[in-house]
Symmetry: C2
Subunit: 210 residues, 2 copies
DNA sequence: TAGATTGTTAATCGATTAACAATC
DNA sequence: TAGATTGTTAATCGATTAACAATC
């Protein structure tokens, strides 16, 4: 099957399956079912099976799925069965918090460069990283083989940094700036904006219960 | 129209419209069109108009939308035309980064309490906040009229904190813990997990270009 | 008036799910 | 064998979009 034919919404659920499988594995389970995965994610068992069926047959009738095997398969599909190198742009509070966030390394995302534009920060040590000058971005990305960038700069600088990243050959950007970045179609962009999340919840809150 | 009948996917787009309108307003524009909004978000103009039509008629034929007016209307619909009080649980690096993140206050989300369970942190001043004991959660939430909680504690404590929040009457939770929280149906939950975002992007990256 | 753009309908498209044969 | 659960088909459901009358 042509991979381009797989709906994006299916791709977005695969990481959720992986996360659920990790939880089950951490609890010592070795086998699970589409029912159990679905229950934990609030979706139907049929949907879990249908999603997986785009990529192959991973289960056994009557038994379910061997957790370790399904994890391996999903990691291969998502291409997270290898290490990806990240560059972090911006070493403010958020940047520092991200540097201490161990989940990146645990999931195969290696922080391979840390950059800032502030002269007072450049050259400083932050954890095991030396802060590099953002002006050297293209060389750093090339020399260190970086594939994914994490933007943690002030909002006003985010678009400029994003443009520079694309120019330097980056094709996937995770941005913490609360603005809509305008970038070429072929660039993968994910934005993390807690305001959007909050605004999506308040709609459903009962104002009378304030 | 029964508000319950409005698709959730529509509700999730309204904050994006608000964010786009803010961008346009910041650039000094006073009027826009469904075309312009859609272009900036990568969706069709028809979808923008259809989404808005669930709630009323906000534009003028031939002219488009008065930006300020549409912002007001969307804020009312999303119930962000008022101030919501947040409690932040967890004052690690991430918590501190969130405390300096001005976008919350700018969008009407007031950080009204900051709590931690670490005795070394309780009583300390962080910015303009005194760190409170998480054991006093129910009283703090009641006394300060807090409606939404932000979880920024270590992963292993997240579920326990979430349970305590629900018990204390919180009905909306924004969690930065990279796990699936298991909570009652009626609780609004949004999770921010950069690993999910990254794993969704690597699928689309061309491995040959590493 | 001519041009532009809205709001809405109906058609289309795509995602979800019910049902079930296959089989462990 | 009986029970459980997969993988898949076809039906259903719901979201998107093309088209266009209305009108500024």
């Amino acid at each position: 099957m042509n991979p381009l034919a797989i709906p994006e919404i299916v791709i977005r659920r695969l990481p959720l399956y992986l996360r659920t499988l990790k939880l089950l594995a951490d609890r010592g389970l070795t086998v699970t079912s589409s029912q159990e995965i679905g229950d934990r994610l609030g979706i139907t068992a049929t949907q879990v099976r249908k999603d997986l069926s785009y990529f192959g047959e991973f289960g056994k009738q009557g038994t379910g799925y061997e957790i370790k095997y399904l994890q391996e398969q999903l990691r291969q599909i998502l291409q997270v069965d290898r290490t990806w190198k990240l560059a972090l742009i911006g070493v403010g509070d958020l940047g520092r918090a991200l540097l201490r966030f161990t989940a990146f390394e645990e999931s195969g995302f290696e922080m391979a460069a840390v950059l800032d534009r502030d002269g007072a920060k450049i050259g400083r040590q932050v954890g095991r990283h030396t802060v590099l000058d953002v002006a050297t971005l293209p060389a750093v990305i090339r020399e260190r083989g970086i594939q994914v960038a994490v933007i943690a700069v002030p909002t006003r600088d985010a678009q400029e940094i994003a443009d520079a990243l694309v120019k330097a050959g980056i094709r996937a950007i995770l941005s913490y700036a609360p603005i809509q970045l305008s970038l070429p179609q072929h660039i993968q962009v994910q934005q993390i904006d807690p305001i959007l999340s909050l605004q999506g919840m308040t709609y459903y809150l009962d104002a009378s219960q304030l």
